[in-house]
Symmetry: D2
Subunit: 290 residues, 4 copies
């Protein structure tokens, strides 16, 4: 059914995600603002580096850009093939998804918000989680292409729902980043062995992705490898808080965490990994989490 | 080496923990305020229901009571065997552990704070996590007895350190309970399918013990089974906040969460499970998490 | 210079504000959606109840509506006299002021955001505080008309600045409402005489508009007279938080207060005065502030 | 009736408070740890610098020390005259007042917790506000002496109530310090004229002691004069939070503010005035409040 697919945006995630497509489809277009990267991808994986105009003639068009703004700007400049499905893997804004979905309907193009999780390693192994908002028919149509890089693929609701789930996921990550930093500086202040404490908590009810992975692999070893920039996490917490506000709900922990991550981001050095948010707590307490 | 062990406090946890001891030790005393329960335990598991005075003549004495206050009150009334190790599995107060440890030294009794996690199922299977504070020699001495019901057993620091780790663990549980309630009422307000969203988050960086276990097994099924009372979680968040305050640290998310759990506890019906804290959010949002 | 003025929106504030204009100007148009009110105003104060089309032919046009949305909707339907100054006394959204200011420039109409404070009593006495954003020339032009009801009249910055100051003012009101409710339920729980305590605090560094006026005149007497609806305060705290977010700042107390006022508003009965926010705290603590 | 009075603790406040006593009483003892200061006070104001043992033989004994700890330590070392009233003007801990009150009853000494507000200028002019906890009879007995430096003198409740009111007052000051810093950095980020904005807010519902006095006299002029040290404000916010916790109440804004003031205090230079707490917000926002 799907004759051609395209991938737009070959960043750390997109580059690896697009690499799986040639195994499943004969025609795979790639495009990137810095076009050298597209050509390199073509050489490396047998994709075709093409002009943007051609890329948007594919049956299934993936995009993976920094924010929804870039997606909106890019879509505004192109004439997408009628009948295509645009699958946006950006960690974007639900309102933007609704707007683009509505707008593209006029050209008979479906828009799915389809953010992913699983980091670069998941992209490389094709084991990403993909949370998708939009119409069921479009979801069914695009599914075979999404399966090239996704393992757990879920249709979570109407347009915007995918972005909403991703934003809430990243907000929960942010909440745990803050609360674990608070808890572990406190334990260290009381002379507790952090590595032993971590083992206990990871076998108990307080465990989280942060205690299982972020703290041991990024913080306690003092590596803070840049794979997901702190300002992007700040952006995502803002998307989550906007969802709360739009629905006129009250979410005190989310609201506070958005403030704290924003402060940590404002204080951080350029190109800091999201895990560097703990450094704000370290400066408050004069305690190093190691 | 260990000739006799005792277990004081046969509540939901203690009853099951003590049941493993006869497999490893010939002399196992049990005692409970409601003494019928001790006699029932003796009948069921072959332990000996004895007076408190005799129980505290064991080499290793376990206690598992609601709060440190009960432990202090009980210890004040007895003459413990010199050379014994008292292993307190209560989710208690670090300051109290330090005080009791100091006080019992005069009678040549060691005190270990040794709270457990793993719930009644872990107690039943003998697979509890045990986080222990106190002197290394006492830890080594008591270890064979603790192994009867513990799987991951960690010496996390000096006196009070075990209680501190447990308090921080439960605080992290509380933080996740609040933030997940906030995030999921928000997702539902936006029409997202909560079960699909949960699957995605449990495969992503925002996952936690609450998303993996509490939400699906207690909240979304509307069961809220009483296994850990909400006022006890409120108490534990207070212990964690006291640790923050004692060290003159700043922990905004912990401080806010303590307030929220206290409010939820004040609003809850009697005998509410800790997971009922989400109902406060449900009343704010008129949204039911199901 | 000013030949004619108009006042659009004769609510509790606008009705009283417009009443001062005939003392200073010969031609005073008034308009209200429910037109009976305009006719009543004309009879009572000698203003002229006119069609909206005629009202917007005045030299200075005041508006005082519930939110910026109503102002935008209304302006979209009319052809305003070239050279006029539109003075919007709504407690509005800074972004909306910037947009309208820009948009009306094309018709050579100036737009000033000019929210007021001082409540109905200040409107009646013509002693309102007016905080104004927009171009200095427009401010100078409209000043004589604003002086009809304003006492302290300040040009606080460019377009949007007036709304911003009002939003921050109302946010500070909200913060004090919450913190005073928290502090006074706590004092009452400890048996303190609230009236004596209030006298002390009002002579000390912790005093605020809430301790001086709101608590004694609305809460402690249990009257909660509806003069400023709680959902409108919730809206204003949202405007303040949006300002924080737009500037990528971190304001934890503001963020938390927005959440709390939103929860209090969601929980409140219809037509609750803003001071009713304290009732959320009363339900948490089972303590009545009286 | 009162034959003799004593004043213990001649700091910035106490030195000025004690200066009023010789106008009303013939025998005025003063004592200070650094005794040179007592001698200087005697020379300057005609008081008698005496040994601590003699000071506590007065009918009314005032103390004004940094914290309740110093008061407890000092009282533990002396034999107070039977029938005396000890009036402690320290900003102290309610629990400590209850304990001392109980303890001194055995020696037939009354203890009043009587913290003051009004700063050094109020101490100098004898116009302090005094909020008093303890027995009514003791209050009546000490009143003539308290009137020497107090203007508004209130009996607010039983033992501890005076300290409680002071702690809540200072907490409200702290809340306003934080929220005003948040609000004004936000206004500045949006180009608003801070001085004009301040005038408007001080005529509106958002005003407070911080907007009326602290912001213009300490912050905007960048003077931050040290009259009340930031760590002491942090201590007082802690006393207020303890009151909340003891009563098992929920006070999210108070809890968060305690955390923020603690962080600001931890980050501040030595000998920083409480108003320096705004500098934490300035570092987060790269905005200076001037």
């Amino acid at each position: 059914m799907i004759q051609s697919v395209a991938f737009i945006g070959l960043g750390a995630m997109g580059y690896r995600m697009a690499a799986h497509l040639p195994q499943h489809f004969d025609t795979v277009y790639v495009w990137n603002r810095n076009f050298e990267k597209a050509k390199q991808h073509a050489t490396e994986y047998g994709t075709q580096a093409v002009e943007l105009e051609q890329a948007v003639q594919a049956d299934i068009i993936f995009s993976c850009l920094p924010t929804s703004q870039e997606v909106e700007d890019l879509i505004a400049t192109v004439q997408i093939k009628s009948g295509a499905v645009w699958v946006d893997c950006t960690s974007g804004v639900p309102e933007s998804a609704k707007k683009l979905s509505q707008q593209l309907k006029a050209s008979e193009v479906d828009f799915l918000d389809a953010p992913v999780s699983g980091q670069t390693i998941g992209a490389e192994n094709g084991t990403l989680t993909v949370m998708i908002g939009g119409e069921a028919a479009a979801f069914e149509k695009a599914l075979p292409a999404i399966q090239a890089f996704g393992k757990l693929i879920k249709h979570v609701g109407d347009s915007g729902a995918g972005f909403a789930v991703k934003a809430v996921n990243n907000m929960l990550l942010a909440v745990n980043l803050c609360s674990v930093a608070e808890g572990f500086t406190t334990l260290k202040a009381h002379g507790v062995n952090l590595h032993e404490a971590l083992d206990c908590i990871n076998a108990s009810s307080g465990k989280s992705g942060v205690t299982e992975t972020v703290l041991p692999q990024r913080v306690l070893n003092r590596e803070f490898p840049l794979t997901f920039a702190l300002p992007l996490l700040a952006k995502d917490t803002g998307i989550a808080l906007d969802l709360v506000r739009d629905a006129k709900l009250s979410a005190p922990v989310i609201a506070l965490t958005q403030s704290l991550i924003q402060a940590a981001s404002n204080l951080a050095e350029k190109d800091s990994d999201f895990s560097s948010a703990v450094k704000m707590y370290e400066s408050w307490s004069k305690i190093t989490l190691e």
